[in-house]
Symmetry: C2
Subunit: 267 residues, 2 copies
């Protein structure tokens, strides 16, 4: 293939194998187009019930797609028959007492029979649907990470897991924003419709050019900012919970599944 | 019945009969809840093809629900077996060369074998769905007609029928506006999702407190205006067309059909 990056054309299974063998260590954005990519959270069994509750009570930021079949089982058969959550993501994050301590390339040295993995839906899926609908996505056009912001909107808490909603922002013309709301409504499993648009101060955001995560994007005169519930929310809840040990994917380095994005559409 | 207006509880058929007999001559807003009410346009056969084209090319302002089975036939069996379009609306408008000349209570003296009637969807249907969804509709809360505005957005023309889109405006909080977009998307036969929100100058509207039709409503600090394609649009196209003769319903005096609003939902 002479056009583009041949890695992009790898099937999800090949991509996971390459990550497992240490041959692929880049962000997964744009890889295996058409397939669902997931946020990953791993917690000790003791906290798994509370974390599952946190997801159930906050389905827009934390749409739960799959959970380990049992503690210590590193497969996720709902998302792909060969998945090994210890190795199939190119970069992980290790958290101790809510503090990021390391970004390992695999968890073979860390995984125990006590661990439970949670896979959550990710904005890549609805961004694909928006692009297919002819809409422009500014962070993609400008080749940067989507800007994300902490809001003043509290999540429903569960056990030690609590915190405010984090949102991602994409600016659009009002007409396109209406179309984006329609398209994303079809995808509740990947954050669904936006939660807010327009005045950022209404949800506690000060300056759209100073995102808390990701990169700033340009906003044109005739555009409004649209805000979606964001998968960084559970990572913030994890920091707040200060549990002794947890693992997540590193931002942008997602678990690539065998599920089709189009299969997530509720209609 | 001691609660409310007993007229409101009349079945569509009874309401039409009362209008036919000259016993009911009020606006139909709030009458026969649950049933589809329609805008009516009557033109001579010579212009019927162009008017049908105008509707087809502009389905958001002109969602066509029914047409006379043949020129001169004053029934509309698609909307109710007993409908007589000459008598069943409490107040009509007569137009000559695009000028409003009269508001008769029936068309028995005017109807000829040359006339063709068009019934178009009306915002009452989606307002009912929005209320059922727990949303507030300001014009209803304030007991006034919805404010309507001429825009600078041209309709697709057909023969002599041409003009800019007219929109109705309802202010909402962004969160409610997102829900309203979702709900109205289910009802393409009654104007569907809004066509714009936010800055009114983007569609050529100067002052939201000076509507071109209907009444002004209050807009609160944390609200944005939402704009829907409006059934007054074909009336403006009719004025512009300056055809020798045409009839419409008078604003607010609609044709009440036997179709259920819920039956218009596409999902």
């Amino acid at each position: 293939m002479s056009i583009g990056d041949p890695l992009k054309l790898m099937a999800p299974e090949q991509l996971r194998l390459a990550a497992r063998q240490g041959k692929f260590n880049k962000p997964t954005s744009g890889m295996a187009p058409g397939f669902v990519q997931c946020n990953l959270v791993i917690v000790p069994q003791h906290y798994a019930g509370d974390f599952a509750d946190f997801c159930r009570r906050n389905p827009k930021p934390c749409p739960l797609l799959a959970v380990s079949p049992r503690p210590g089982d590193f497969s996720l058969p709902e998302l792909g028959l060969d998945i090994d959550v210890r190795t199939d993501i190119p970069r992980y994050r290790r958290w101790e007492d809510g503090v990021l301590v390391d970004e390992p390339s695999h968890l073979l040295d860390h995984w125990t029979d006590d661990h439970v993995a949670f896979a959550l839906g990710c904005s890549f899926s609805f961004e694909e649907a928006l692009l297919a609908g002819g809409l422009e996505i500014r962070n993609i056009s400008e080749g940067v990470n989507v800007p994300m912001f902490r809001t003043n909107q509290p999540c429903a808490s569960a056990g030690p897991f609590a915190g405010n909603l984090v949102v991602s922002m994409r600016p659009m013309k009002p007409k396109d924003a209406i179309r984006a709301i329609q398209i994303c409504t079809r995808f509740p499993a990947v954050h669904g419709a936006p939660v807010h648009f327009g005045d950022p101060t209404q949800i506690g955001i000060g300056d759209l050019q100073q995102p808390d995560f990701g990169d700033a994007v340009s906003i044109r005169n005739n555009e409004v900012p649209l805000f979606w519930a964001c998968g960084v929310t559970p990572q913030v809840a994890l920091e707040n919970a200060k549990i002794p040990l947890a693992f997540t994917h590193a931002p942008g380095y997602m678990l690539v599944s065998d599920k089709l994005n189009t299969g997530l559409a509720v209609l």
